[in-house]
């Protein structure tokens, strides 16, 4: 079922359709919230609140953008507001100022381990970098969509992506060695 039909069914009061919508966008919301809020319990609670907010605002959604972009925007804003209240944001921190704790990987590490290792490094980056990396790579949003979601200028988004990639390359280099060509 297309997003348009799904939204119309939800607006007609079909809760089953909303369950389907939750299932469809659950991971997007979890990824977005998870990049800003780290506490597991807070994260789950906030993800639920995001879906409540989406439900309440759905009648105002006019399909001027993709539904996923709209939901990601709500998730990002709610997560940032939550983090502000908890005063745990490190958004003002510069990437170069962050001391990275790199987990151990032996010579026989598998692809899954490397992926966990990369996500571990990402989680230690400042919030804006984490969000931009997640939106671009994990969720596959375009630059204009990331601009719409985060409100950051396009130049900043590109700069964050470039610097985060560089940092990841620097930190991962000792573990990847010469086995993979740059």
């Amino acid at each position: 079922m297309e997003d348009h039909q799904l939204v119309n069914r939800v607006l007609q009061g079909n809760y089953q359709a909303y369950l389907e919508l939750i299932e469809r966008y659950k991971l997007l919301v979890v990824h977005m919230v998870g990049r800003v809020v780290t506490d597991e319990q807070d994260k789950e609670e906030l993800c639920q609140d995001v879906f409540v907010k989406v439900y309440e605002s759905l009648s105002t959604f006019k399909f001027n953008s993709k539904l996923s972009t709209w939901i990601a925007t709500i998730s990002y804003r709610m997560a940032v507001n939550f983090a502000k209240k908890r005063a745990r944001r490190n958004d003002t921190q510069e990437l170069d100022d962050v001391a990275f704790m790199v987990g151990h990987l032996d010579d026989t590490f598998e692809e899954k381990d490397f992926s966990n290792f990369v996500h571990q490094i990402v989680m230690q980056m400042p919030e804006s970098y984490r969000v931009v990396l997640t939106l671009f790579y994990l969720e596959g949003f375009s630059y204009p969509e990331i601009v719409e979601i985060t409100g950051m200028p396009e130049g900043t988004v590109k700069n964050y992506l470039f610097r985060a990639r560089q940092k990841l390359k620097d930190l991962a280099a000792p573990y990847v060695g010469t086995e993979i060509e740059i």
Binding site: L19, K26, V118
Partner: protein, 103 residues
């Protein structure tokens, strides 16, 4: 190496959500709707009450049923205040109702 990093970034991180996540969302929605309904009923009842109270006082003033001139000065402001408050309450109730119907 960049390809490997990008591939790792595109790999979904482990996500742990409770099995009843979606049901909990629906529970929260139902609770909020019930709260909204209660609030709306209260506002509507209060709006109607103040509206009738102001109407009754207007009648008293117009018909000059009270023969207490000092009280009339104050009553005029009470009527205006209550009337205005009643109208605001009714408008508010109408808006809340409309929002609910739109969903």
């Amino acid at each position: 190496m960049e390809d490997k990093i990008i591939k790792a970034l595109k790999t979904e991180p482990q996500v742990q959500l409770k099995a009843d996540f979606a049901q909990n969302v629906l529970r929260k929605i139902h609770k909020r709707e019930a709260d909204l309904e209660r609030r709306n009923m209260f506002i509507l009842a209060f709006g109607i009450l103040t509206f009738f109270a102001s109407s009754a006082l207007t009648l008293i003033l117009l018909l000059d049923l009270t023969k207490l001139p000092d009280l009339m000065g104050y009553a005029k402001w009470i009527v205006l205040g209550l009337g205005l408050f009643g109208v605001i309450q009714l408008l508010d109730a109408k808006l809340v109702w409309k929002r609910k119907l739109h969903r």
